[in-house]
């Protein structure tokens, strides 16, 4: 009954969640902003990698295809936590050693930068696969028509391939975006204070576990709902021109 009572102890919860100290609401919001910042950067960076990766996998030479296969397999296979530990610690260790060898002092690598970099590389591997699948789902004729009219490949990508694949790619990309917002939690390990870490700290310091975890859940839900609405619009736009399947027998 304890957690339930705690859940119902709304007055106490409101006090704990108020925006200025001693309430922890401000901390949670700050964490959320940090999370979104990194998620946004990483998602965008990942999309760029993914686009080139998908193209490389579909149209690249053998060497490029093999290298991309290794990239997507390794990055997608290794848990992000391990990647972050390795890329961040070993990476900064190396940078520092090099800097010291040249007579410079310790280099600080900012959490935001490292986070975007590391998560972006991870996201890129997934985007590659999502976009590759979407490109393959485009009816061949659509691309051929563009080729036949002499569209340069970059323009073909921009004007035909990307809009035509959108309807196939959007659900997968929406998943990736949500994963990005939540993967930022892993950056807690490098001391980056995003939403999950702020939540855990608030919860452990006040022992009000239910209050804070539900509050964090609600914040995540809000992000999801907002981005869901955005992705819905994108998908609807991407599907324009395709007859709806709904209501067909």
């Amino acid at each position: 009954m304890e957690p339930l009572l705690e859940l119902l102890g709304l007055a106490k919860s409101a006090e704990l969640l108020s925006l200025s100290p001693p309430g922890w609401g401000g901390n949670l919001l700050r964490g959320l902003v940090n999370s979104l910042q990194i998620a946004f950067g990483a998602f965008g960076f990942g999309l760029v990698i993914g686009l080139f990766g998908a193209y490389g996998k579909l149209y690249g030479g053998v060497v490029i295809r093999d290298l991309l296969a290794i990239y997507t397999t390794v990055i997608r296979a290794v848990p992000e936590l391990v990647l972050i530990l390795i890329l961040y610690y070993v990476g900064t260790d190396l940078v520092n050693k090099i800097a010291q060898a040249f007579g410079y002092g310790r280099v600080e690598i900012s959490g935001v930068f490292a986070g975007i970099w590391v998560l972006g590389i991870v996201q890129g591997a997934y985007s590659t696969e999502v976009l590759r699948g979407a490109i393959q789902a485009i009816p061949q004729g659509q691309i051929e028509a563009a080729r036949a009219f002499g569209m340069p490949s970059l323009m073909l990508m921009r004007r035909v391939t990307i809009p035509a694949m959108m309807s196939f790619a959007v659900p997968g990309l929406a998943n990736l975006w949500l994963i990005a917002t939540k993967d930022t939690a892993l950056l807690a390990i490098v001391g980056f204070s995003e939403l999950t870490l702020e939540t855990r700290q608030a919860a452990a310091s006040t022992r009000a576990y239910f209050t804070f975890f539900l509050a964090a859940g609600a914040l995540y839900m809000m992000v999801t709902l907002f981005s869901g609405a955005a992705f819905n619009r994108i998908e609807k736009w991407a599907r324009r021109g395709q007859p709806s399947l709904r209501g067909k027998n």
Partner: protein, 264 residues
């Protein structure tokens, strides 16, 4: 009369070669679809390619603009040879892109871009590849759509159109790029006789402007009326060719005779 008109054009431009294909071969895996096809079209020529289903007509057209990589052969467009790697793929992407803008294509399956309206389909290449000012491209596109009878469908997406409407839109899209050579893959298959007549007029006009056309068709009557040169493909080889009067009036090959018999 049709033939007369066609021949007139022929003699006029006989000197200027628009397209020359030499010994073109193409295999899909073990299936050899084109077994050495050579063909020359001069400026203003209308070449009709006829032949049975699966004889390689579409494949030939698709090789001409490198949508399929030929297994062997040589393709010269407007005097410029397309550079090929030993495996048949184009060696110079820029070149192939430039040349393709001179080759308008109407596909057998139309291949309109489903994510764009008809008008957008038609202005896409002029605006983004040829850098025509948008307003001008729209004006021209509206004219073309009117010409093929789709003026009122400009803002409709292709999936909501009838087969014939899609085919006409595809023709308008190809015309919009002002190509020197038009590649038509069965441009009238989904059209009723009335519209076939109109397409015929369009093609004649284009020829009179000095444009060259390669035209795959199953309608012998159409071929006879519009072309000044007819090529009969059989299992990947040119079995017979010549002016329409001869090919249709006095076929030599037994296979062509058989092929034409049903047309009466």
């Amino acid at each position: 009369m049709a033939e007369l008109g066609a021949e007139e054009i022929d003699t006029q431009n006989a000197d200027e070669e628009a397209i020359r294909v030499t010994d073109l071969r193409k295999s899909f895996g073990t299936l050899e679809v084109l077994k050495g096809v050579s063909l020359t079209a001069h400026k203003g020529d209308v070449v009709a390619i006829i032949g049975g289903s699966g004889s390689g007509k579409s494949t030939f057209l698709r090789c001409v603009n490198f949508l399929e990589t030929p297994s062997a052969g040589q393709i010269i467009v407007g005097g410029e040879e397309i550079k090929m790697r030993p495996d048949g793929s184009p060696a110079d992407r820029r070149q192939i892109e430039r040349i393709r803008t001179q080759l308008g294509m109407v596909f057998q399956a139309f291949n309109l871009w489903t994510h764009r309206t008809l008008l957008e389909n038609v202005i896409e290449v002029p605006v983004h590849v040829l850098k025509v000012p948008r307003a001008q491209a729209i004006k021209r596109a509206e004219e073309l759509l009117d010409r093929v009878g789709l003026g009122d469908k400009a803002d409709v997406f292709p999936s909501f159109l009838s087969g014939g409407q899609q085919q006409r839109a595809a023709i308008a899209r190809a015309l919009a790029v002002d190509p020197r050579v038009m590649l038509f893959d069965e441009p009238t298959s989904a059209l009723d006789p009335e519209l076939v007549g109109e397409v015929l007029t369009v093609i004649r006009d284009l020829a009179a402007e000095g444009r060259t056309m390669l035209l795959v068709t199953h309608e012998m009557k159409f071929a006879r009326e519009v072309a000044n040169h007819v090529v009969y493909l059989f299992e990947g080889r040119i079995e017979e060719q010549g002016p329409p009067a001869e090919v249709f009036g006095n076929p030599k090959s037994a296979r062509l005779k058989q092929f034409l018999k049903t047309v009466g």
